[in-house]
């Protein structure tokens, strides 16, 4: 039964998955157990994405199903779910750029891989990254950008982190659109990732959790 939900969700069978959740809730099962299964389902989704069995639409769809499940389960919950996290990552699309597709995928993949992700959204000023790093004590920051204007915004952001005296405590990764090694050099970031999985690997490498 428990396995069922994880697999059904991972197979993106929306109706069946919701039906299972409904039944288990009706049977008085612990909501946390259900959410845990759902989380495992999402991990499978992430794996399949890594293996190029799944693509962005599958991530989006699984996210929608998860949302539906959470909405069903929430009213029955007495306490918040606590998941042990591998570490904290701050993510955002840099100033001037409002594209969020790539950033959202990295957030998704970091999340299902066990990281605590602080998503600052799009068009994020350099100072906001700095503030969030201070506030959360995160040691990894991911800068996303789709347009070529992001090259300079990323550089500005890295400079701001440096000016705040955080540069040696924080690893910076960049990615998206036209980002490549040349841009990495230009911005002064520590690494660039060609895709979401690369971002996850970098985070694991820097925060531990790498196999």
């Amino acid at each position: 039964m428990a396995n069922d939900l994880a697999n059904t969700l991972a197979d993106l069978k929306e109706k069946e998955a919701l039906e299972m959740v409904r039944k288990r809730l009706d049977a008085g099962e612990d909501p946390l157990g259900i959410l845990d299964d759902a989380r495992r389902g999402m991990e499978i989704v992430g794996k399949r994405f890594e293996n190029s069995e799944y693509f962005i639409p599958d991530l989006v769809y699984s996210g929608e199903i998860l949302k539906d499940i959470t909405e069903m389960v929430k009213p029955k919950m007495t306490k918040d779910i606590e998941v042990k996290r591998l570490g904290k990552v701050v993510m955002g699309t840099v100033a001037g750029d409002i594209h969020d597709i790539g950033k959202d995928i990295v957030v998704f993949m970091l999340d299902v891989n066990g990281f605590e992700v602080y998503d600052l959204g799009v068009d994020v000023p350099a100072q906001e990254f700095v503030d969030k790093l201070r506030e959360t004590g995160s040691t990894v920051v991911g800068l996303s950008g789709f347009l070529t204007l992001a090259f300079d915004s990323m550089k500005t952001t890295v400079d701001a982190i440096k000016a705040a005296g955080l540069r040696d405590k924080v690893k910076v990764m960049i990615g998206g659109g036209q980002i490549d090694e040349a841009v990495q050099r230009h911005t002064g970031a520590d690494a660039y990732g060609v895709n979401a999985m690369a971002g996850v690997s970098l985070a694991k490498e820097w925060l531990g959790g790498a196999q």
């Binding site: 639409p57 001037g96 409002i98 070529t148 204007l149 036209q178 230009h186």
Partner: protein, 416 residues
């Protein structure tokens, strides 16, 4: 040696491009930089000025084109498709433009959104224009919000009762909305006129313009303009039939739009920006079901109409190149972003002319040698036997003028 006339130069450049498109070996590798807003940077004006001052924007482009000396130039009216004044007049919500939502020095950006809701397919399919006027336009133009109060446009058929509809048009809100539309129309007409004049001036100076019309493939229309990326992706699972019916319905609209645009401009090249069909954006099976059929049908229809489709393959198409071989040979100018063009040459090199793929990172942050090295490799590998046009991966908004010059000069010299 006598100087060539502008007409001779024009013909020469066009022949160079056409030879490449027809997969022949041109006299040298044609050069098509997707300059977009680069002219502003080239002459030192803001992007905001480019959106608000047609004269300055035209002059900047003229100077930039004469300096860069391309075989095809990217029309300034293509980059700035209408003026900030026009957008402001209707409070256009779908883009943020320089000085209006984004910095005066940053390019305009599309505001991703669900402009059509999941349960609105039937309304769109049953009466597209009514849907456009009463539902869609009020969402994308702030000033047209009052249109939501209009009765169905079909009401005009209901004799005495339908006639009453005209009274609604007199409501101050509706009247103001119509006024804003008219004002935007006048502004847009002014802008288009100025841009067309620049294109004509450049033609007289010997420079052919890249494309005469722009269009999108059916899936991108729905994904970009209507349902949003997220919405469309969910629709592929939850209501694939309605999505497919809509894709089918919009295809003739898109064909008509491209054909009439080309007829008006007299330029056969049709720009098709491909957005949501790249590797990663959907599975191959989804590509085959939802994306490719409409894309292929559109391209074939344009070729049938005697036009030259110029798809820009945004992102990476490494996994989908084989599909492109279903298209007729020597009729298409394919512009590539991060697709491995060196590999692509071996797969689709006999089908379509490849244009690309100088990295923007190099033109913006690289060294002259890096730029030359990459350009050399492109010419050597992809340019082998013709069928290649030197271009870049995206638009050149932030490129370094010095590096652009290196790139242009090198292409002319080495590509001979």
């Amino acid at each position: 040696m006598t100087e060539k006339s502008p007409q001779q130069l024009y013909d020469e450049r066009l022949k160079r491009v056409n030879d490449a498109i027809q997969l022949k070996v041109p006299d040298r590798v044609p050069f098509f930089p997707a300059t977009h807003l680069y002219a502003a940077k080239h002459v030192g004006m803001t992007f905001e000025e480019a959106f608000y001052d047609s004269q300055k924007w035209s002059e900047a482009n003229k100077r930039m084109i004469l300096d860069v000396d391309p075989d095809l130039f990217f029309s300034p009216g293509f980059a700035v498709f209408s003026s900030g004044q026009a957008f402001e007049a209707v409070d256009f919500k779908q883009i943020k433009w320089p000085g209006h939502g984004v910095s005066p020095d940053h390019t305009h950006q599309f505001v991703e959104g669900e402009y059509m809701m999941a349960d609105e397919y039937d309304a769109l399919l049953d009466d597209p224009s009514d849907y456009a006027v009463r539902t869609y336009m009020p969402r994308i133009y702030g000033t047209l919000q009052p249109f939501t109060m209009l009765p169905p446009l079909k009401a005009m058929l209901f004799g005495y009762a339908g006639v009453g509809m005209t009274a609604l048009l007199a409501m101050p809100d509706i009247a103001r909305a119509l006024e804003s539309l008219q004002k935007a129309g006048l502004e847009a007409a002014k802008w288009s006129g100025a841009m067309a004049a620049l294109d004509a001036e450049m033609a007289a100076l010997g420079y052919p313009s890249f494309a005469g019309a722009a269009v999108v493939v059916p899936f991108d229309l729905v994904s970009d303009m209507l349902r949003g990326m997220r919405g469309t992706m969910l629709d592929m699972y939850r209501q694939p039939d309605k999505l497919l019916a809509t894709l089918e319905r919009v295809l003739p609209m898109l064909i008509g739009m491209a054909v009439s645009g080309s007829t008006m401009s007299g330029n056969p090249r049709v720009f098709i920006a491909l957005h949501r069909g790249a590797d990663g954006f959907m599975s191959l099976k989804q590509f085959e079901t939802f994306y490719w059929p409409g894309m292929k049908a559109l391209i074939l229809a344009l070729i049938d109409a005697g036009l030259t489709p110029c798809p820009f393959f945004e992102g990476c198409y490494d996994q989908r190149l084989e599909y492109l071989n279903e298209l007729p040979k020597g009729k298409i100018l394919g512009m590539f972003d991060s697709t491995d063009v060196f590999r692509a040459k071996g797969i689709i090199g006999d089908t379509m002319c490849i244009c690309g793929n100088m990295p923007m990172s190099l033109l913006q942050t690289g060294t002259p040698d890096e730029v030359k090295d990459y350009a050399r490799k492109l010419i050597d590998v992809v340019g082998k036997g013709g069928g290649f046009i030197m271009g870049c991966r995206g638009v050149m908004d932030e490129c370094d003028p010095k590096l652009v010059k290196v790139w242009a000069d090198f292409t002319r010299e080495y590509g001979g």
